[in-house]
Symmetry: C2
Subunit: 115 residues, 2 copies
DNA sequence: CAAACAATTCTACAATCATCTAAATAAAGC
DNA sequence: GCTTTATTTAGATGATTGTAGAATTGTTTG
């Protein structure tokens, strides 16, 4: 999983409503936009927007069947995200870095400015 | 891990810069605010803000030593988050729900309004 | 074809948030 | 006590984003 996808997933999981939607799809086999929006006090347009974000992060995929679009969870993508997350953080630290014990570390009289 | 904490963690991990900061702390044993802000083109105040978010999510903790504050990763919290995430999503679905095959599912002539 | 239904796109708005500068708080050393 | 350094807080701003309503596209079925 590349860095861009990694951040898309993190972002997609960050909004409470969107995560609820994600959970709801996961609890069922597959669901269409309308039945999802029945579960929440938000408009169908909002649900559609969240579904797009989730699909963009590849956390869900869609199967078209006539006028319906059935969404389902891509569990392997969530698993890949989780594995990368744990690997990036829980990997053994190169211990003993603990800096700033006499290092002037640059003058920095004024604070930064770039964005 | 309760729901509020769960969402705080998800949110804390969602911002790219904040995640980089988190990764940087994880790569070292512990780091103080100043040496972290040396690694990124943002002001120390911004770093302090991100550290507060991470600490609020309990993803990091601080150890005070004189005028310095050393931050370190709470790996067990990240692990708890990951486990809950996987459990909430990857738990076996109660298969066969697939609704909307003739259900009128409420009239909903107008779209929703509550937030 | 026309009407009804499903989903998305467009546009707009309010809220959130990442970021900055400046000021305040706190500790160390002279 | 004063100065220097480390960090946090306060206030402001620009960007992002969650949301709704309207318009649009696409599909099914009288």
């Amino acid at each position: 999983m590349n860095g861009a996808q990694f951040h898309k997933v993190a972002k997609a999981l960050a909004d409470p409503r969107r995560f609820e939607i994600f959970e709801t799809i996961a609890a069922s086999d597959e669901m269409c936009c309308g039945s999802i929006s029945d579960c929440f006090p938000v408009s169908q347009a909002t649900v559609s927007h969240h579904l797009k974000e989730l699909a963009d992060a590849e956390l869900i995929e869609a199967r078209c069947e006539g006028q319906f679009k059935y969404f389902s969870v891509r569990r392997e993508v969530l698993t890949a995200y989780v594995e990368e997350l744990v690997q990036r953080i829980n990997a053994k630290p190169r211990a003993g870095v603990k800096p700033r014990r006499g290092s002037k570390a640059g003058v920095r009289t004024t604070t930064h400015s770039r964005r």
